[in-house]
Symmetry: C2
């Protein structure tokens, strides 16, 4: 069953429904291309039917490993960058208490991330914390040689081995990597780390439903079965058998592409729930990396409301009209809090006393949508009932398959990322990495 | 002395230097308009000479109040939204340990924020934490009736009074508000809270160098004298006496406006230091709210590198060419960490063993700049020596005055924010606020 509601009616004032529907056949073709594996990037479609085919043995292996870690450590450092960072971070943040970092009494290990930057302060300050913690490491890298995570892992492994000894350290390190190739696979086999496999046919930004995302999410104490189940249900709801008008992924893809063709070059993903801040960061990688190529693509941006109504709100309301907004709405909060009456009523809020805080938030949301549409900003609304593992699984798969369709509508290969190499090559040349002698010579002559 | 370096040479391939210099007289006029207070929004120019004229008595009052709070509480809840949230958050994050939230042994009170959203989960989960903390509240609002902070303050005041008694609560609440008008001023006078004044002539997004930003920053343990001093030095370096070619604020404003006129509609503020993530959020409010009006304005976006090189990096390298990049570079980290040698060298990183981590980060930065410029993205580089109170004061004032100049070059009033009212009016109408009966009738007929 599909728990996501998609509302594109607030786009029709900018792009008529009939015009969006003109994309029906193109969207159907795109979706079939994904299923037939006949489009560009077809060697990276492992994510497509992963949820429905997820092996029970793998789920239970992840669960058991996570349970063991949970009983043994009080902090897990997840080492990864890009999709090996943002997926887990997005889901863990969404499901966690806003102030989880202050609740030191909880049973679940704290999760921190490393290898997603090259900060000398970041790694130094992390090690200072780790000196006093009983910690483990989940290192995530297909090759094991991507600079950021490889460097962080080298430093952390060194620290852990010094702290608990080489033999004990081995038991506290999990490697998520290629099944047979690469530096991390080699190291894991020699050292005897517990490993999980990153499937060959699944790119980083599509990997949150593989062990890459699932292990950290499970260690944080969340239900990965429900997460996968939500995704599997969405797989059914977005398959080629579903007609265009009932397929939320096709409709979302067709709508945003129609808006792009009308000059709406920036999609702003908005939330009204602070737990979704990193979900937007995950989404930005998914769409930015999939579509931003060949001089094309919608620029993915994000805002967190109502905070950013007092920041980016002015621009969205009145600035250049090259934007549209996609709102993720969460119907019900997990907590319940009634606004108290105040006898003095200096703040003039007694008119909302007795209401739930979320009722005010919902009126802010509705009021914002109407105001922005009036101001010339098309609005797409995606709503879920609650923030739960199941619903996040739905959202994740929804955005993944819509991204595949959208990329094909845009006529790009949504599954490669050739542009990511450019800075790496320059960096290697500047650092005089062996094998980059020619590039070193060239770049040194430029600076 | 000016500690900021601005490099616009990597823009010349897209907009020739001569073309930027054509804005010299317009930029000079804009700057003089600010100083003569003859432009639009001239009743909101209090920030312009505030650093150089900052009253010693006020600094010492803030310092004493902060010192007293620091000795009495272990957590300060700062209640505010927009400029009453982002300024303090940006500076405190920039100066804090990356893992400050885990270092419970430190003497300084933890700083948390509220009233920047209407999250029922957020406030409920915060209260749960506060049950166990000895906390104080700094409530920041000119009117005292802005929904988000007023609602949070009503709930928190209620909680604190129940926890420690009405009389004790009064001593733990600081109000930063109007000198004479508004609900919060009235409440503070009746209850006898310690207060600080938000100047009449300083808008929220320009208020970090007033008690709005300074009190929370001081409570967090940072040196506000140095922060103000840095800003005061930048005030000298950007005054109308400084020629255009030596004035970094005029040059930055002229450059970004020239880029905008060439179709570069998105400015991406990039950092290579995780401590600056919220500095970008502060900057987004400053520029988005100042320039996003009358159907105009550069869309301010941000990325955090190298993390986002594995996310938005692909788009920046190869996507639609409507973007330019402004990098804030920090020359020296606070920590020192040498990359260890590894005898096995599975990860093939021994070629950088013995280097500092930051050397790799700097080569990533330089490599990225070259790659993005090659890919068609103009690059502006702003560098500071270290992250310090002084240098952040410099950066803040630099961006503020450049924003004023830039707004006048764009021919908008950079000091108003009329668009922020639209969602509020709708929200009040939907919540049936007394006085909004007509709007309520209208909006109900629409939904």
């Amino acid at each position: 069953m599909n728990h996501i509601k998609l509302d594109i009616s607030k786009v029709y004032g900018f792009v008529p429904e009939a015009e969006i529907n003109k994309s029906e056949s193109a969207a159907n073709v795109a979706l079939k291309k994904l299923y037939n594996k006949s489009g560009e990037g077809n060697d990276f479609l492992g994510w497509l039917d992963l949820p429905s085919k997820f092996p029970e043995s793998l789920i239970s292996d992840i669960e058991k490993t996570a349970a063991k870690l949970r009983s043994e450590i009080d902090l897990l450092v997840v080492v990864g960058i890009g999709g090996s960072y943002l997926g887990a971070k997005a889901i863990i943040d969404a499901l966690s208490n806003n102030f989880a970092w202050m609740k030191t009494e909880t049973a679940a290990p704290q999760i921190v991330f490393a290898g997603q930057n090259i900060g000398e302060d970041y790694i130094s300050e992390l090690l200072e914390v780790l000196d006093k913690k009983n910690y483990g490491i989940a290192v995530i890298s297909k090759s094991g040689t991507t600079t950021e995570p490889a460097l962080a892992f080298r430093i952390l492994k060194n620290h852990l081995e010094k702290k608990v000894g080489k033999e004990n350290a081995k038991k506290k390190i999990i490697a998520i990597t290629d099944h047979s190739k690469g530096a991390l696979r080699k190291m894991a086999d020699i050292e005897g780390y517990k490993t999980f496999i990153i499937p060959d046919d699944t790119g980083g930004r599509f990997s949150v439903l593989t062990p890459v995302g699932l292990l950290p999410i499970a260690v944080a104490g969340f239900n990965i079965r429900e997460f996968i189940k939500g995704a599997a249900e969405m797989e059914k709801s977005t398959s080629p058998e579903i007609p265009f008008s009932d397929n939320p992924a096709s409709l979302y893809a067709a709508t945003r592409n129609a808006l792009y063709n009308k000059g709406k070059k920036i999609e702003i993903l908005a939330n009204f729930n602070s737990k979704l801040i990193y979900f937007s960061e995950w989404w930005k990688q998914l769409y930015g990396e999939s579509e931003g190529k060949d001089g094309k693509g919608i620029y993915p941006a994000s805002v967190n409301f109502t905070a950013d109504l007092h920041s980016m709100g002015q621009y969205i309301q009145d600035g250049e009209r090259h934007i549209f907004e996609t709102v993720i709405s969460v119907e019900k909060p997990a907590s319940k809090f009634i606004i108290p009456k105040d006898n003095d009523d200096f703040d003039q809020l007694n008119y909302i006393a007795g209401k739930r805080v979320d009722e005010v938030n919902k009126m802010a949301e509705l009021g914002t949508m109407l105001a922005h549409v009036d101001g010339g900003v098309p609005n797409i609304r995606i709503s879920i009932d609650t923030i739960s593992e199941f619903n996040l699984g739905q959202l994740v798969y929804f955005f993944e398959i819509a991204c595949g369709i959208s990329g094909y509508l845009l006529k790009v290969n949504p599954f490669n990322q050739p542009g990511v190499e450019a800075y790496k090559t320059n960096m290697f040349a500047l650092l005089e990495k062996p094998g980059f002698e020619e590039e070193t010579k060239k770049i040194k002559s430029r600076i």
